[in-house]
């Protein structure tokens, strides 16, 4: 079993986000052109962007080229990304574009979008490009000055870039999930509410001892992750048979009873004290607002509805209706209301975490 866990640990995907709504991973953004060009690193010109609300806009009005890149002030060893890909989204009026990586010694290795499937149908449409880092050079990751440079080779032209990253061990279209213990971030195999035992009954809202770590690598720009229970499903075990909203933990011996549950999604991991009680409406200290769990049979459940979608292409649901774009991985914490719990009893449910495209 130990071998298995170590094995999984090494396989876990790694994503180095180079540019997104949060900013850049490097120290500087440099631009270049030999004519007229405008740059906007926080452009909101387009209603639909692959991640968050902003993207990087380059408008080349004259001359023969214009571009930009992300640079580090010190030499970077990113060898853990060897065998990975450089991935980015582009929306461009032309495919006459080169993509480069610069080594610390100044050597630049170049690839062209035309070699990676660009065709006329891509014009002014968001497209995901994934270029194997090995295609640049086998050892390109070991001594990096710029992990991403992009230059348009014709004018006039306008292109937008979003969600630039190096990724390894995660395919495009992938959805990965792990359950970890809050106390030490170790991977575990079940959710528990041991604090209920410590506090003793009756108690109120209590945060679970574990959280879910989620990583997603979408291959389309309109997507979401929704979370819910499905306690009235014929295959639910136990199946809720009461008359209230079925969302939550179901009493295995009296299936007409259930305990309400809550959730929050966070971009940082938190201690139990930071997480507070977990009662919906309250806030995580230094984080977001707790929300109620919904069931697929809840009267106000809608597939793809904002309240049941912790994370989508616009970002994380930080209160009950607004989103904030954050890089993966992100973390879902869970709570339950033990005010009406009795002992000795077992309360169970299955949590559905569904990654969907629209």
């Amino acid at each position: 079993m130990i071998i298995l866990f170590l094995f999984l640990f090494f396989l876990y995907p790694e994503i180095l986000t180079i540019y997104n709504d949060e900013g850049i991973s490097g120290d500087n953004i440099y631009t270049w052109n030999d004519g007229g060009a405008d740059y906007d690193g926080s452009s909101q010109d387009l209603e639909s962007v692959p991640e968050g609300f902003k993207c990087f806009k380059t408008t080349a009005t004259s001359g023969s080229y214009a571009g930009w890149g992300v640079f580090y002030n010190t030499e970077q060893d990113f060898s853990e990304y060897q065998n990975g890909d450089l991935r980015f989204w582009i929306y461009s009026s032309t495919g006459n574009i080169k993509v480069e990586i610069e080594r610390w010694n100044g050597e630049t290795v170049t690839k062209y979008l035309s070699d990676y499937g660009w065709n006329d149908s891509y014009v002014n449409t968001w497209r995901l490009f994934s270029i194997p880092l090995d295609d640049f050079a086998v050892d390109i990751t070991t001594s990096v000055k710029s992990p991403f440079k992009i230059t348009v080779l014709t004018t006039p032209a306008t292109f937008y870039i979003d969600m630039v990253r190096w990724a390894v061990n995660i395919d495009t279209g992938s959805f990965n999930l792990k359950i970890k213990r809050i106390s030490d971030d170790v991977e575990v195999s079940s959710f528990t509410f041991t604090r209920v035992n410590l506090i003793g009954l009756p108690t109120g809202w209590v945060v679970a001892d574990q959280y879910i770590e989620i990583e997603v690598e979408p291959s389309d720009i309109s997507w979401g992750i929704q979370i819910y229970t499905d306690n009235e499903s014929p295959s639910a075990d136990p199946r809720y048979t009461g008359t209230e909203d079925p969302a939550g933990l179901v009493d295995t011996s009296t299936t007409t009873k259930r305990l309400q549950m809550g959730w929050t999604i966070e971009y940082l991991t938190h201690s139990l004290s930071e997480l507070g009680t977990g009662e919906p409406g309250t806030w995580v200290n230094g984080g977001y607002q707790w929300k109620y769990f919904k069931d697929k049979a809840s009267s106000d459940f809608t597939n793809g509805g904002s309240y049941v979608t912790p994370w989508n292409n616009e970002g994380l649901l930080w209160n009950t209706w607004q989103r904030d774009s954050k890089s993966p991985p992100n973390y879902i914490y869970i709570s339950a209301d033990f005010s009406n719990a009795v002992t000795p009893r077992t309360y169970k449910t299955k949590i559905f975490v569904e990654f969907y495209y629209q």
């Binding site: 396989l11 209603e47 999930l177 079940s190 309109s222 169970k348 990654f355």
Partner: protein, 236 residues
């Protein structure tokens, strides 16, 4: 201790599905075959179950069972690490279908008895060639973070992603006549869909428009179908 899951062998759950969606234009009674590929990215072995489910259902299509227009095979299978499996989907458009049909094919990892169920759902949209109605209206203008948003309401019976052209004129009233002055014209292509009966937005750049009365002329395209709608709106 309250435990709400059983033990399971893997805490890591991971898979991928491609492509991300299908959008087909078909006549009633017409058949088509599409394919999705699901891949086990990480685990030594994974068991996958495939289900179909409704996503958005038009009121007039409420009696149409999803199984009557979307069937697939295989429904359950194992995948070794790195292995991909092609799921074949047959689409048959029911005679009584209106507007569009929208279902999801859900790929569910089922072999780990975990308290978390991981699912990837990919949509299938069938636009009914015979009777879809692509229609919309311009509802208004609003400013958001200095950007101008044009609200579009879908009043047809089919979803659409707003793609087309917008032209705006400023309209001013003088003593005995109205004066219209051209402001700008631009093309746009949005990816997010607008379902029937709901609104979506087209975002325009920072135009620095003053409060006033404007004429919005919006031309949208949908599968080669073009429609133009005009509206005088007041920006406050």
């Amino acid at each position: 201790m309250w435990i709400f899951s059983s033990l399971f062998l893997y805490s890591l759950l991971a898979m991928s599905v491609t492509p991300a969606k299908y959008e087909l234009l078909l006549s009633t009674g017409e058949r088509n075959t599409i394919y999705f590929t699901v891949k086990n990215d990480k685990l030594e072995m994974m068991k996958v179950r495939v289900n179909s489910k409704y996503w958005f259902v038009l009121p007039e299509n409420k009696g149409i069972e999803i199984d009557s227009w979307l069937s697939f095979s295989p429904k359950e299978f194992y995948l070794k690490k790195g292995e991909g499996k092609r799921v074949i989907c047959e689409v048959i458009v029911p005679k009584n279908a209106s507007g569009f049909l929208n279902g999801m094919l859900s790929f569910n990892q089922i072999d780990s008895p975990t308290s978390v169920n991981i699912t990837i759902s990919v949509p299938v949209y069938i636009i009914i060639k015979d009777n879809y109605s692509f229609d919309f209206e311009v509802r208004g203008l609003k400013r958001e973070n200095e950007y101008l948003l044009v609200e579009i309401f879908n009043k047809g019976n089919v979803y659409f992603r707003p793609r087309g052209r917008i032209k705006m004129n400023r309209e001013r009233n003088f003593l005995i006549f109205k004066k219209k002055s051209f402001l700008f014209e631009k093309r746009f292509k949005e990816e997010r869909h607008i379902f029937p009966g709901s609104s979506g937005y087209v975002k325009l750049g920072n135009l620095g428009l003053k409060d006033g009365k404007y004429e919005v002329i919006l031309e949208l395209e949908f599968w080669g179908d073009k429609k133009i709608r005009k509206k005088i709106v007041v920006l406050k």
